[in-house]
Point group: D2
């Protein structure tokens, strides 16, 4: 009898607003990266439980993007309310690889792998991810 | 005696403006994608010689992004004036792979591979790249 | 004996995100206009009860801005969660004057008067505000 | 014999890009404020002769917006290349009122009065405009 625990996925929902779409009625792609960043902030606020704002202003840590690979499989349209699922595909000493899947009505629209690195905001020097946060990213770690 | 023709590279220059940077003083990454799109519009206007505006409004063609892979090697700071070099790393029947390198003072800051597909704007159905445009992308094609 | 009914105010809450702020740590003002537009979309979705997306796509109506007067009384900072109150200060045949007040911890940060006009999206010609919508704006009309 | 000196006007040209327009094909208004800010940066770089970047980073001065009144007379469309004229309509001890007129093919599209205040970046406390800059704003001062 299997008792394998299902790995957690963090899920949030977004909305494609008027200001996000181009003359063709589909999301202008730099705006999709803006949505990805907003989902990242949600992940901190809700899943990690550390407000992203506090992380920067109090802990003086930042998470700049070092590598991004994104598949745009279907266009996102004005009015769409994509469900965004986030898992962790890589967890290094300082680096975190996050996998975002945007789905609308069961269809994958955007599939993104974004690698960020933990840095001291002041110097931009990389730092180990603090343990309290690491545990939260382990919870959503994809199985090998 | 060498007869190797040097492949052309399209070069343009941009500026990291006040509205592009975040509280850490470095470019907010969705804004870097905005810069990439602006460089893409320049490529059409100046190198291809077809104004991007005319392409959409008159030829009714669009070039949505289908895949993007970007390395953020160094942060772009407020006031930086990156030199952007564009070459073509892949040229299919409908798809164009464009390689953007952002350099500041000789250091590569951003290295992006962006694949777009030629579509009819109305239906978003893929179309072969018209020959007159294809020739221009061949000119900046990277050697195998 | 006064029986004056208190006029309704539509209230929504927003968040000043990482991508909204500049190197000084305060909201870059074009982003504040973006927040105003998002509050306007909320007003349609929640108070008027007509999804803004449907208004544009189905009713083929738009509400372009014709006049805007905004006081920036206090800066909005990263992490602020302004409470936005919207009332109607003018209701013409086609035009709607909306008054937005952004407050953080009881202090007014932004006070904006924005006048939009009802138009047919196709032609941009002005049209009378449909009665079903007009009634909703009357509900939040400020007293003379 | 007339000796009336013609007051100087600072003129710059902009472009309405793909990412600036909405599904109706006209500029999304928060993007127009972005264009206004870009014209303001040009004014510093070219007319005042102090790079806006240096102003913030070296002189540690900022010019946050305190009041804005804008008429949107005609829509700006994708591909438009508005000519922007800037004059000064008010010059106080710390405050500068700037008047921006956007014209396309001789028609005024946007007419904006924007009042900014000179502040120390660190504290956001208002400061007198340094004399070297004041002289440049006097040059473009509108006649009473």
């Amino acid at each position: 009898m299997s008792t394998s625990a299902k790995k957690k996925v963090f899920v949030t929902q977004q909305q494609v607003r008027f200001g996000d779409v181009d003359p063709a009625g589909i999301a202008y792609y730099p705006k999709i990266y803006d949505l990805i960043h907003q989902a990242f902030e949600e992940l901190w606020d809700v899943h990690v439980g550390k407000r992203y704002y506090h992380l920067l202003c109090e802990a003086k840590l930042g998470f700049p993007l070092v590598h991004a690979e994104v598949d745009f499989k279907q266009p996102l349209h004005f009015g769409d309310r994509p469900v965004v699922s986030i898992t962790c595909f890589k967890l290094g000493r300082s680096s975190i690889g996050l996998h975002y899947v945007f789905e609308v009505a069961g269809h994958v629209c955007v599939d993104a792998h974004m690698t960020v690195v933990c840095v001291e905001l002041e110097t931009l020097a990389s730092k180990p991810i603090p343990d309290e946060f690491r545990a939260k990213f382990e919870e959503i770690l994809e199985e090998a």
